[in-house]
């Protein structure tokens, strides 16, 4: 950790010196925005993968009543739904153009047969394919199901089941709804996992509870500690989820922010999970680094500690993005759990955030909701970012040659990008160019892929040289045999001589 801190400190000093000296300022400033990590975990600055299309504030959207602490964001097609938590309303916005977002309507209350017709701190909203709006109406302790006009259909309320702690209020914070109308909910103060409701409103249990783990040093300590000491010690409680996202296949991406720093650093706690229907974590973590966002947490300008992911969103190509509220950054990971890039930072400029709370995507574009700035930032991939998407999608669709070519383009723009090398290697591997693939994998220390290529290469080599190998083996066997034979003949001759002499 100390080493990391030093490295960051050196980087910061270097950046400071450069900024003061003012040479090459424009280039430097650009370099700092987007970065990735190489095999060693060193920061490699890269061209920007995303650029800001616009930052949309209340004034830009033409709202009479400005946004107040918005918490939730949901994108459906071209429509953007925002939970204006402080004003107890849901806003529907429309992206009409590449760079225009306009106000459509506001859902201020619920119509129909329901007692409480107003929202009270709605924190999340979800629209299903069959045209229903689900709202996490937090301080009313309910999840509402409405039709598109805001008519009341039903409500999901506090479970009466004994497994749900009846002493606490049911405070739904974030919700996701699957195609069958089942509701998954992150509720405050619930640490048993996601609260799951059937589509008829019946509580059907918890999903994805984190198993309680402890290490043996803690166990030994507790044996020796007195009762009061034990009470003061950190309790072994499972972690609470903070946010969730249901991807196109129905898997739930969930994030956790309440985790021990050391556990995050050592990879003991997974702060991003992908849950299947059974609630088990199926996120692929084949990267050299853990899925933890920033590796260097050096204290700078009041920003300290690990990346804390408040929201997550996954695209159709299984690339997922997480939103870090500690430093206001967005990190992209591919389907193998390798970090594609990270960008952003704390600040007031476009592309920087003060208190980002929600993230969603519209095809390849990203939207980030900032609850302190009361604004929505719209990002779109740059040519470089689009190339990375192309390369990954082409590979997923089986166009290996094209994928290799796209990665080559990426590499032309960013020579320090490990994934480009590995991407080219994987494409070459599929094209059965093993030796070239090996070179690329070796450069970026990808041992698994290297082994795959090398195994084939070795097989091919043996097959090509089978004649020589046999010859060498045969020679190795024949030569000692022949020598033995010669020695024996000599010995027999000698013996014969002696025999004759004796006679």
């Amino acid at each position: 950790m100390k080493k990391r801190f030093l490295k960051t400190a050196v980087c910061m000093i270097a950046a400071g010196v450069l900024a003061v000296s003012g040479t090459g300022l424009t280039v430097r400033a650009e370099e700092g925005y987007t970065y990735s990590y190489d095999y060693w975990g060193d920061i490699q600055y890269s061209p920007d993968a995303y650029e800001v299309v616009g930052v949309y504030t209340s004034a830009d959207l033409g709202l009479e009543l400005p946004l107040k602490r918005p918490e939730g964001l949901f994108v459906k097609g071209n429509s953007i739904y925002v939970c204006d938590t402080g004003n107890n309303r849901i806003l529907e916005l429309q992206r009409t153009d590449k760079d225009t977002i306009s106000y459509v309507r506001s859902i201020d209350g619920i119509r129909g047969d329901v007692e409480v017709k107003e929202f009270n701190s709605p924190t999340d909203v979800t629209i299903t394919d069959d045209g229903y709006i689900y709202v996490a109406d937090m301080n009313n302790c309910r999840i509402l199901k409405l039709d598109m006009d805001g008519n009341y259909i039903m409500a999901f309320t506090k479970p009466t089941d004994a497994t749900f702690n009846q002493e606490i209020d049911f405070l739904p914070a974030k919700i996701a709804v699957d195609t069958a109308g089942r509701v998954y909910c992150v509720a405050k103060n619930v640490n048993k996992g996601l609260v799951k409701f059937e589509n008829d409103g019946v509580f059907s249990g918890f999903v994805g509870a984190t198993p309680v783990t402890y290490n043996w040093t803690d166990y030994v300590w507790k044996k020796f500690a007195s009762k009061t000491q034990r009470e003061n010690m950190e309790k072994f409680t499972p972690t609470e989820y903070d946010n969730l996202y249901m991807d196109h296949e129905g898997f739930i991406y969930a994030t956790i922010t309440q985790a021990n720093q050391d556990d995050i650093d050592s990879g003991d706690t997974d702060i991003v999970k992908k849950l299947n229907l059974m609630g088990s974590d199926i996120l692929v973590r084949n990267g050299e680094l853990y899925v933890i966002g920033d590796l260097y947490w050096g204290n700078g300008g009041g920003y300290d500690g690990p990346s804390l992911f408040t929201d997550v969103t996954a695209m159709e190509n299984d690339i997922y993005f997480v939103l870090d509220k500690t430093r206001g950054r967005v990190f992209a990971y591919d389907d193998q759990g390798r970090m594609l890039y990270g960008f952003g930072g704390p600040g007031n400029e476009g592309g920087y955030f003060r208190r980002p709370v929600a993230l969603d995507h519209m095809e390849h574009d990203l939207l980030v909701l900032d609850s302190q700035d009361n604004s929505i930032t719209l990002f779109t991939p740059t040519q470089y970012g689009q190339l990375i998407f192309d390369a990954i999608e082409q590979f997923q669709d089986g166009f290996y040659d094209e994928s290799g070519a796209s990665w080559q383009e990426v590499m032309n723009q960013n020579n320090n990008y490990d994934l480009a090398y590995i991407g080219i290697g994987r494409s070459l591997l599929r094209q059965k160019k093993y030796q070239e693939a090996m070179d690329y994998f070796k450069l970026k220390y990808d041992d698994d892929n290297y082994s795959k290529a090398f195994k084939q290469y070795r097989k091919q080599w043996v097959e090509d040289h089978i004649g020589i190998i046999f010859a060498v083996v045969a020679l190795l066997m024949i030569v000692p045999l022949a020598i033995g034979r010669i020695k024996r003949i000599r010995w027999e001759i000698d013996k014969a001589d002696i025999f004759m002499n004796q006679k």
């Binding site: 698994d448 082994s451 195994k455 070795r458």
Partner: protein, 218 residues
């Protein structure tokens, strides 16, 4: 004529004690007894083995397949790499000699050095072929490399253990006790050296500041 004969004799002796090093590999008890008591070991061969060991350690960094060893070159210091072996070896010899000489150990400092170096022979002997092996295996076959690599260290450790028992004429229990004590002696030496160097640097800094002060005022 005599000079030439002597030189030939020297080469022959060297060859003989080099061959004897290989004998010690498989016959540690017998071999290390003869090493000192029959004077079959030599400092020249010990130096050779040490140099080859160092070479194996350095070549390992460069030529091992990346599946097994990934070197962050910016942080590699060749002096430190060599020093980490030589310094520990020197401390081991001195520490062991200093302790055993007080408790009926029969080995002299030179003999401890020679025996330890002879004991290190398995390391280069296995590591050099492993360099080649590491470049022709895949991750699935990595176990072979791992096992052989640790075997080279275990073998060397066992040899050194027996070597110490034989040259000091110790029983095994006493020998192990003294090896543990030697490790502590090494730690004490490191501590004293650190203390020494920090004291010296403080002292030097003191006089430098006095001289500076004087220059300033006069």
């Amino acid at each position: 004529m005599t000079a030439l004969f002597k030189k030939n004799q020297k080469i022959a002796d060297y060859k003989k004690s080099l061959q004897f090093a290989f004998y010690c590999l498989t016959h540690p008890l017998d071999g290390f007894w003869d090493l000192t008591h029959e004077k079959r070991g030599s400092i020249a061969v010990a130096n050779t083995i040490l140099i080859v060991t160092l070479l194996a350690r350095l070549m390992r960094l460069q030529f091992t397949g990346f599946l097994f060893l990934r070197v962050y070159w910016p942080e590699i210091n060749i002096i430190l790499q060599i020093g980490s072996v030589l310094f520990v070896l020197a401390m081991w010899c001195v520490g062991n000699w200093a302790l055993t000489t007080l408790f009926d150990g029969k080995g002299r400092l030179g003999q401890i050095y020679v025996a330890t170096c002879y004991g290190m022979l398995p390391y280069p002997l296995i590591q050099f072929p492993l360099l080649i092996l590491s470049n022709v295996v895949t991750v699935d076959e990595a176990e072979f490399y791992m096992v052989l690599s640790s075997f080279s260290l275990v073998w060397a450790a066992v040899l050194i253990l027996f070597a110490m028992a034989q040259i000091h004429e110790y029983k095994m229990a006493k020998n192990i006790g003294f090896i543990i004590a030697t490790v502590f002696a090494m730690l004490v030496m490191v501590f004293i050296l650190l203390l020494f160097f920090s004291m010296i640097s403080q002292g030097v800094a003191y006089f430098i500041s006095i001289v500076r002060e004087l220059l300033f005022r006069v």
